[in-house]
């Protein structure tokens, strides 16, 4: 394992300043992605800036009804928080559907947002990979591209899925990512935080150099809504999604008056299905309708050699979630 410097920081400003010093720095929170990838030599830090002592571990309801989550709130703490379980069931369920108990105990909210792709060609450290080595090519296209490779939002440069479950729930709920950098504090809409690979797959998020995520603030819960996360995978636990859906619904009798749908495991970023929501809103709950909504959610999908099954699976993970949530 390569050597690096280590700096323990006591304030956000100190963390940002330390990160901005010469040399390649990474912020260290839980470390479950970072240290994994440092061991593989895929991430090559010259310095780790430890932010674990910053006061970013609170979950607070703001006066306007939104809920502000500190960057260092662990996945376990967020999923088991009574406010989250009651008002944002889909978020709690999504977090608990991901990783293992031990990893969730350590992984943080901001770290989950920042986690890297699970594509084996990215992780192996040697295959051509445009994320790891810009311009080297994409080994997954034409290679093994079954489980962690996308059918939505891909490009001819990269087809890796975004691996997070938590982020799929967050993009359905709607949120703002608060970041602090050398030039102050700003907010980034959650839906704009993760970038499509396009022609620059090595650019994965909207952070500017040295910016640190300090909070994720969820939109106020939709009144009288119900929500659920459904995840389909190769084994029943501790496995990344082949396809997953986060659904939030508001119903007046059998009439669906508002809806949010997002997908995981099929897209190169946490995937909000806005057109599918439009097909659903204003209609009466019905399995035939849900099938149409599922098809709309996967509209425009492009398959690769081993992952064509993700189109019907993505349709079904939406349809089934809608069916169960309206039952």
């Amino acid at each position: 394992m390569r050597t690096f410097d280590y700096s323990r920081t006591q304030s956000t400003a100190q963390a940002v300043n330390t990160h901005a010093a010469p040399g390649q720095s990474f912020y260290l929170a839980g470390g479950t992605t970072l240290l994994d990838l440092v061991k593989l030599d895929v991430m090559q830090p010259e310095r780790l800036v430890d932010i674990n002592h910053l006061s970013l571990k609170q979950i607070e309801r703001l006066a306007d009804g939104r809920v502000r989550i500190g960057a260092l709130v662990t996945n376990t703490a967020l999923a088991s928080d009574p406010l989250i379980q009651e008002q944002y069931a889909v978020l709690s369920q999504a977090i608990l559907a991901g990783a293992s108990t031990q990893l969730r105990n350590k992984a943080t909210t901001a770290g989950n947002v920042m986690q890297r792709v699970r594509c084996n060609y990215f992780r192996d450290g040697v295959s051509p990979c445009n994320k790891r080595q810009p311009g080297s090519g994409c080994s997954a296209i034409g290679g093994h591209n079954r489980s962690v490779h996308a059918v939505l939002g891909t490009s001819d440069q990269c087809i890796a899925t975004h691996p997070s479950d938590m982020c799929v729930a967050m993009v359905a709920i709607g949120a703002q990512v608060t970041v602090q950098g050398p030039n102050g504090v700003r907010e980034i809409p959650f839906a704009d935080f993760h970038l499509l690979p396009g022609t620059t797959p090595w650019l994965e998020h909207a952070l500017l150099p040295h910016e640190l995520i300090t909070h994720v603030t969820l939109d106020a819960p939709i009144k009288d809504s119900r929500s659920a996360y459904l995840k389909l995978r190769d084994r029943n636990s501790y496995q990344f999604a082949l396809a997953s859906s986060a659904v939030i619904l508001v119903m007046d009798g059998q009439l669906i008056t508002d809806a949010r749908i997002a997908l995981g495991g099929v897209g190169t970023k946490p995937w909000r299905a806005l057109e599918a929501e439009r097909v659903l809103i204003g209609q009466k709950a019905d399995l035939g309708l849900f099938t149409l909504v599922g098809a709309q959610a996967m509209h425009g999908a492009k398959t690769y050699e081993h992952n064509a099954f993700k189109i019907p699976l993505g349709q079904q993970v939406v349809t089934r979630n809608l069916r169960d949530l309206t039952a």
Binding site: T3, T32, L35, L40, T101
Partner: protein
């Protein structure tokens, strides 16, 4: 190495200095016990190897090192470690707490599970420096003297292992789960909560039985 060698002073010290228990057999390899009987194939270096005494660092850290305080199984250690020293490796190599195992070394198997401030984590995905002032419990810290922890006892009674390599990680996760009021007590909840601990021998059925049995004992129901 010869038969003559096997009876010299250093070997006798190993045999008499380390009582032949199952724990020591596993911890020090075959040296302590086998040297007395099977002496022809064990390298001398192995027979002569004794665990070095654990010594805290008194001096200031060298270039490339930093100071860290870890309270492990109730004992405070002050160590100088490089920034890239992984918690698992510090526990095993520096503090000689080799009950915690290195499996995948990437947070995928759970063999390295320890408790930090009462919470189970993968010790392979932490650097030691990020745990300054933390309280760490390893498998060695569960028993009270010669009295096994109820979960250890239950794993023994239920034969909840075959090769045993994953067992300390399984037990640490189980202890944490049994203390966690947010985790359901039904079999499905326990299986889900234990899914970060892989057992290649496939002892899952007995592991589950052991955990549920220990739950009963700890609640005084059995």
């Amino acid at each position: 190495m010869t038969d003559t060698k096997s009876s010299d002073k250093s070997d006798r010290e190993v045999v008499t200095g380390v009582a032949p228990s199952r724990r020591n057999f596993l911890k020090f390899g075959v040296s302590g016990i086998a040297a007395a009987t099977v002496s022809t194939w064990i390298p001398e270096s192995v027979i002569a190897s004794q665990p070095a005494p654990i010594v805290d660092d008194e001096q200031a850290p060298k270039v490339g090192e930093q100071r860290v305080q870890l309270t492990v199984n109730g004992q405070l250690h002050k160590l100088n470690v490089p920034a890239n020293a992984i918690l698992l490796d510090v526990l095993r190599d520096r503090l000689q707490l080799t009950g915690t195992k290195k499996g995948c070394d990437h947070g995928q198997c759970g063999a390295c599970t320890v408790m930090v401030n009462g919470v189970a984590i993968n010790s392979c995905l932490s650097i030691a420096l990020q745990h300054d002032s933390d309280k760490i419990t390893t498998i060695e810290g569960l028993a009270q003297g010669d009295v096994l922890h109820p979960v250890q006892e239950a794993f023994w009674e239920h034969d909840a292992y075959q090769c045993g390599y994953c067992t300390s990680g399984q037990i640490m996760s189980a202890v944490a789960i049994l203390k966690d009021p947010t985790i359901g007590t039904d079999d499905a909840s326990v299986k889900e909560a234990m899914s970060g601990n892989i057992c290649r021998c496939g002892a899952y059925k007995n592991i589950l039985a052991a955990i549920q049995s220990a739950r009963g004992k700890m609640e005084g129901k059995v």
